[in-house]
Every structure is written in C-alpha cells, then in structure tokens.
C-alpha cells in the first residue's frame, strides 16, 4: 500500500509559521483552525551569582500537521465512519458524513483534527492529496523558507533520513505509528522529558 509522509527538520525550523499560514491561506482557514501547528518547546535554569547570571536555556520548534498514521487514533473512535484512511494513506475526513462529535479530536495525540465552528464538523490536513495527485507538493512543504519540510513516500523519506518520529512534546510514536521522520534539533529532548515545557500552548 502506498503511504506518504512528512520529513520535519527541527534543526532548521525557526518557528516562523510560514507553513501554518500558507496552509491557512490556501485552505481558507480562519482563526482557531490550524491544520499545521508549530510547537515551541523550551526549558533550562537560571542561576544568579551577585550581579551575574548563568543559565542552561534551550528551546526548539517542531512543525506538525496530520501524520497520516498507520494506526490512526482518530479513525478508530469515529462513530460515523467519516474519518478514514485513503488508499494512498492519507487520513481524511468526509465532511458530508462527519457529525462533529469531536471524538477524533480528543483521541488524536497530535491535535490534528480541527473542529470548524462555522461548518459544524471536523476538518483536518488532507496532505493536499489533490495537489499530490497532480504531482505537486503540499502547500506547506513548498512554502518553508528554511527548507525544513519535505514530503514523499514515507519509505523513501525513511531511507534518506532514518526512522525517528519521537521528540518532546510529542507522544511516543508507538501509539499511532505516525508517518513522519523527525530530524532532531541539537536541543531536542525525549518524548517523556520533564525538564522543559510546551512554551506556546495557546498557539497550538
């Protein structure tokens, strides 16, 4: 079976959010609906010695859309069958069938399904499958000023970049088997890290 995925280079990502905004422009999304979300993870300590300071501060960004998982949590809990995995591996919601119960949103550990208040049902990243069918890249990937995103058959991405899909503040990849490969930032912390915190909770 065909399966596409994203490569996310957190060592390059500056958290600029061009991916998020280019997606929102193309998909005509309003405030509060973000198919792609940029996580800021930060931590470290400060020590005051008289008038001077020492520190161990770090932060990094991570851009996450839908990971089009092998074992999507969203499809499992969807009572209407609207949330489904396509032949090409993209996980999409049939907006005509969706009843807007938000179970998928609660189930997905990555926050991918997004409730659209105006439409009254769920929406989400569909991998720009229509563009992909025409041989184009998803809008977010081609927009990245840092060239921190790539897209392609996940097998190829894994061959090129390895198989890591784990980093804080994401959950363990064992849960849903996401189709992403993450190149870690130098500051990366493991998924169960307690030293840092999600620094921009309102934005994701």
């Amino acid at each position: 079976m065909k399966q596409y995925g994203f490569y996310i280079d957190s060592s390059k990502c500056t958290g600029c959010k061009t991916c998020q905004l280019s997606c929102k422009d193309n998909k005509d999304l309003d405030i509060g609906v973000n198919f792609r979300r940029v996580y800021e993870y930060a931590g470290g300590d400060w020590l005051k010695e008289g008038e001077i300071y020492r520190q161990s501060v770090y932060s990094y960004y991570l851009s996450i859309a839908c990971n089009h998982c092998d074992q999507p949590a969203c499809t499992k809990v969807c009572p209407s069958g609207a949330m489904h995995k396509r032949e090409d591996g993209f996980v999409v919601v049939d907006e005509k069938t969706c009843i807007g119960c938000k179970y998928c949103s609660m189930a997905c550990p990555y926050g991918a399904p997004q409730y659209n208040e105006e439409k009254g049902h769920m929406t989400k990243c569909d991998g720009c499958f229509e563009r992909v069918e025409q041989g184009m890249q998803p809008v977010c990937v081609g927009s990245c000023p840092l060239r921190a995103l790539e897209f392609g058959p996940i097998a190829q991405l894994r061959e090129k970049y390895g198989t890591n899909a784990d980093v804080a503040p994401l959950p363990s990849s064992l849960t849903t088997k996401p189709n992403i490969v993450i190149k870690q930032n130098r500051n990366a912390r493991p998924t169960d890290d307690q030293s840092g915190h999600l620094a921009n909770p309102k934005e994701v």
């Binding site: 500056t14 405030i31 008038e51 001077i52 520190q55 932060s59 990094y60 960004y61 927009s143 500051n187």
Partner: protein
Amino acid sequence: MKINLKSLLNPQIDRRGFLKSSALFSGAAAVTAGLTLPFKTTKVQASTLAESADKEKVVWSACTVNCGSRCPLKMHVENGEIKWVDTDNSGDDNYGEHQVRACLRGRSMRRRVYNPDRLKYPMKRIGKRGEGKFKRISWDEAFTDIAADITRIKKEYGNEAIYLNYGTGTLGGTVTKSWPPGGSLLARLMNLSGGYLNHYGDYSSAQIAAGLSHTYGGWANNNSPSDLENSKLIVQFGNNPAETRMSGGGVIHHFMEGKAKSNARLIVVDPRYTDTAGGREDQWIPIRPGTDTAFIAAMAHVMITENLVDQPFLDKYCVGYDEKTLPKSAPAKSDYKSYILGSGEDAVEKTPEWASKITGIPADIIIKAAREIGSTKPCAVIQGWGIQRTANGEIASRAVAMLSLLTGNVGINGGGSGAREGGSSIPFVRFPTLQNPVEASIPMFLWTDAIVRGPEMTAVKDGIRGKDKLDVPIKFIWNYAGNCIINQHSDINRTHDILQDEKACEMIVVIDNHMTSSAKYADIILPDLTTSEQSDFCMDASAGNMPYFIFASQVIKPQFEAKSIYDICTGLAEKLGVKEAFTEGRDQEGWLRHLYQLTRAQDPSLPEFEAMRKQGIYKRKVKDHFVAYQDFRNNPKANPLSTPSGKIEIYSEKLAELAETWDLAEDEVIHPLPVYAPTFEGWEDSKQGNYPLQLTGFHYKSRTHSTYGNVSLLQDAAPQEMWINPMDAQGRGINNGDLIRIFNDRGELHIAAKVTPRILPGVVALGEGAWYAPDGQKIDHGGCINVLTTQRPSPLAKGNPQHTNLVDVQLVNKV
C-alpha cells in the same frame, strides 16, 4: 471582525448574489467596513467580474514592506478576486539559484488587501485628531483643499515648513517607493513646487548610520551572508535574521546555507534566546541591553593581554589602536589600547571582572569568548540593528566593529567588518525625483520637536543639517505609507498632545491602505492602492550573492475609490500647476516601461519588458561573495576609505571635534573611541528609582514593524505578549498567559505575559509595531511599545533609543 473577514474571504459566495447586492451598495459606500464587504461589490468591479468569470489566472505580485527582504507573490485570481497566495516556486530550488520564498506575512497578503480596515475614499477629519471621525469627500475636493493649504503655507512660512515624514510601508517599490523620502513621488511633486523639509536617518538604523560611519567612512558594509560558507566562527550581536530578514531568499536562508557548508561555530549575543539561535548556536551569551560596549572592552582586554590581537593589521589599516597610530591632534594615552588597559583618561582597567558586573555575563564566559574570537580565523562578526537602537547606540555600533579590527578579519572571505550583512544588487534606474530647493534637513526622530520648537533647533544642539538652524516650525506633514505619526514614533502620549494643537502643525495628509493609528490623526486621508492593485518593479532586498528584482503586475482592479500614489500626485500636480512637468506625459505603466528601458540600456542582458512581466522575478547569481572593504584590504593606498584619514578610524578626530563643539547634556557622550558610557534609563539607572526592569523591543514575525499588524490570522498565530523571565515573574505573581500591565512615567499598556526562560532576568521584551489601541484612559490594549518609549534622542545621531527603557510590570488578571 472575524465574521466580516469570513464573508469576505468565503470562496463559495454566490456570484449572482454578488452582482445583485452591488447595486445596493455602490451608491452608498460611506457605511461601515463590515457592510461594504466583500469589496468587489462596486460597479467598477461588476464588469470585470463578468468578463473574467470562472477563469483562474496566476499573476506575479510582491510584498514591498520594510523587513529588508523582498518577496515575490504568485496571486491566484478567480473572477477578479485573489483566491490564494503562492510564492516563487520556479526552478529546482538549488541554493544559489534558489526560490525566493515569502514568509508567513507575504502568504497572508490576501488578508491585507481584503481587510476591513481598508481606506475606501478620500476623507476629511471632523472630530479631534486621533478620534477617528471623518467624513467622505471627493477626490477633487481633497486635491483642491490640499493644494490650497500647500500654497497658503508656502506663502506664510516657506517650503521649509512642509515636511515629508518617515514611512517605509512600500519602500520596496519603484513608483510606489515611500523611502527614503527624497526617493518618493511626493518628493518629486514637492521639488516641482518649491521643495520640502527633508530628514536624515531612520527609525531602523539611525545610530549605526551616524556612529559606524566614523569608523569605516560612509555607510558601513559587511560581507554577504553567503560568505559564511568560508567562516570558522560566526558572532551575532543583537542580530536575529530568523525574524528580521526571514524570507526564504533573504539573509536567514544565506545564513543557514552558508553555516551548513562551513560548519562554523555560532555565538549569539542577545538578551533573548532568539529564533536564530534555537539550537543552531554553540553558545548563547545573554547580555543586559546597552552594555555591549563593556563586554567588548573586556574581550579586548583578554585579547591584548594574551597577545591575540592582529598587530600588523592594526598598524597598517587602523588609526588609534595604540599610541603609534594616534593622530597628531589626539592627547597622549587617548588610544584604544590605553583605554582598555587602564592607562587612559578614566584610569579604569577594562577587565572581565569589571565588565561582568555591568553586562551580567560571568567573567569566565567573557574570557572564553575572547579567546575563541581571538584565535579562530576567519571569524565573521555581524551586528543587527537591535543594539544600536539604544541611548548610545552610536558607540555600541562602533564597539562591535572592534572585534573585527582587533582580530584583523576585515576585507577577507569568511571574515567581515562587524557591521550588518551586506550583499550584491542589480543596478536599476529609479524614478527621478529632481532637486530639492530646500537644503535643511532634520534628524527624522525630531519631527515632533520641529513642530513645537522648530526655530530653536540648531546644528550643534539638534543635528540640523544643511543650515545652522531651522527658520520655521513644521506646519504641513505628508505621511505616505507610514505609521510614524503615532504608532512607530516614541512616546505616543507626548505626540498625541503635540498634535492636538491644530495651530501648531496645521495640516496632516495621510496616504495609506488602512485606517492605521496614524491615519486617525490625519486632517485629510487619501486611500492608496495595495501592491496587488497596480504594477511596479520591486527590489532592494538584502539577498546575499543572489540579487533579484520583481515585476509585480496588477492582480486585481483598484478597490473602491483608492488611487495609486502616482495618480494621487498627478492629481495634486494638476492643482499646483505642475502636471506636465510631473508626468512628462507618461502614466504609471509608461514610467515603468521608460525606467526599465533605461535600465536595460545599461544592462542589455536583462529580459525584455514583456518577458519580465511574464517571468515575474529576475535572479542573478553573483559568482563571488561580496566582501566588504576587500579592495582597501588588498591595497589601502590605492583604495583609501572615505574617512578623513582614509583608514579605519578606531580613534575619530571628527568625533573628538563634535564632542568638543556640540551642546550635550551631562549624561550624553560623544567620544572619539568606542568607550563604555552608561546612559539615561540604562541598567545602572534601573537599580535606583521606580522602574527596575529594562524593556527592549524586538522585531516580531507577526508583523513588519506595524505593517500586517491588523491581519487577525497573524495576530492569532503569533500573539502579542511581553517576554519575562520566571525569576522576575514569580515575585510579581505572574504566570504564563496572565494579563499584565507594563508602565513607566510616560504611559501604560496591558498585554499577556510570556513567562519564558528565553530572556535574561531583569529584562523584559515586547515586539514593536503592534497597533496602538487606547481605551480613553490613555491605557493601550494593543501592546504598542511606544506608549513607554522616550522622545529623548541619542547624542550623536539624534536617533530613536527605542530599546532603552525602564519600566515596571504588575499583574492585572490571572488567565
């Protein structure tokens, strides 16, 4: 606003419904923004709509705002409406011939074009300045009134009373160019009508322009960031291209690619742990704002005492490093080395221990950094404009260059001068704006003073250029594509009070796209076109060794009654009796063709006009990296600098002279050497008095200065908030996200707190450019830093010290 925007941007709007409602609205456009949306329900658009029904086309446009990058936008247009915004996706994106990818702001251009704040027709003020009460007038009435006022003010006060205010909203255009003022079409119009009071300097770089020019002669340049591929060590001082020049064809791209090639180590010196750092740095050195000069002096101490300085370079190329190369006029022991070693006038040895108390940086870290910078070659030292936008940024800018000089890194690949990044450009013939008959020029930051006390302002006290003193105050202000009438100028409450007196400045004309806070202070507002509604050549990006220019074509028809700056000036020129001279018989398209023809005559390798329109962007790969002062380095006798000595001036005789002759306050320092001097509202002041926190501004990804500040999606994606360290937040009972008040004697604003370890304790930071939103009690709820900044200028540039502020912070509400 959300609902308005939605209905505006909803792609599923029924076309028939559109046309039907247009009859309803077109006769009564003078209603609120919400009711007139979507915009294309005017008669003019109706015909266009029918013609191009259902046809999607892609048209090249551009983002021309003042970030220092410049991005092409590919507008997808359907039925005369922009549907979505793509960017340069040509070629295979190999670095060196890469795509120039727009940032989050450019990708949100549609929401600036179709924005509820759009100005729709000329308006005249009917309330007080700042109240935002206007009535609609016709273009003819607007032109007649403005021309009459110009004529009257010229007669009563002379042309020196007519001022072109700073505005950079469209500085990337050619016809639409808003800055420098002398390069704008308003300058051409006024030059045909007797001239105008000019300004020098700018809110971006006033202090470095005035300061570092004494070191290098003229505007100080640096190597192209692409040249970082030759560096072994990069030192970024207050420079954050990940947010300031964040285009995918701009400085950040060259920085990342260059650094990846060389694998150079990176030191970031900044009070904030910036997005440029973010795991790409080998060391972050947090520093108190305004103390960089002390840090550098201490590093110089280490380099000198440990024999890490490049003595042959200093001897051959520089003036005043040690006594050997001091000019004759200089007193004994007035050289930099004597200053550092404590044998100079102040008899203080600039040891790491001395500097650590001032800067907050541990002495061992200062020593380690000095050794690393002193022993790693080539080393690229780059400063942003953050540290110079301070109360003595002139000196700070020169101090940063000391690192490049002490280590002999100037004029070589992989090294640099310590200035901000340079780059290559493609020569382009600009709109001729003619000669200004008025010679007087003021520091741009002192325009409010020039309203209040113009005739008192002199060359030696206020930096007036072109004559010894001003003869008249400012009576008329042109404000095109700028938000410095209120939002971006310091001390908003003082400016507000000054502008309330309508007998002082008698006329303010604002030409802009949106109802900015500055527009609310206008006497007459003229609605301008966005880049999407007209054609222009767009350029002037800091783009490393791949310069380019863009042909932005008209994407959609003009919205409402808005006119281009060219047509506005033409209309005014007619009333002023200079239309023929202004237009030379051309329209905007005619000028674009004419200027491009002249450009191609210089450089026939450029594509033809029509081909250029089709391809949208022209890129040129420059073989060699730009290396600043390379010719001078190779042969200083044949290629002297434009400093008085022809050499790099560590000790500046000119500055020594200004220090003697200018009227300065006790706490204002102009010095021939880059010495550390505490300033008003600096760290030293924070230890006494009511305001214990240093507040610095920064450039925020959400906006370019104030442009894009009214795009709700960007406000949501990167919300306005004040950075505060947990150490400072804890004692004040502040948690992440809480509503806080920031205040000092000048003003107060309420905004959410971002409690983050990414900022030095004792320092708080607020992104500049948020739109001023006062509540009637003089409290701002938009998070505009300029309710807190001072109008007191820096000593030499008379520039804006907007990163030098003392404040306190208190909790208002828990989240």
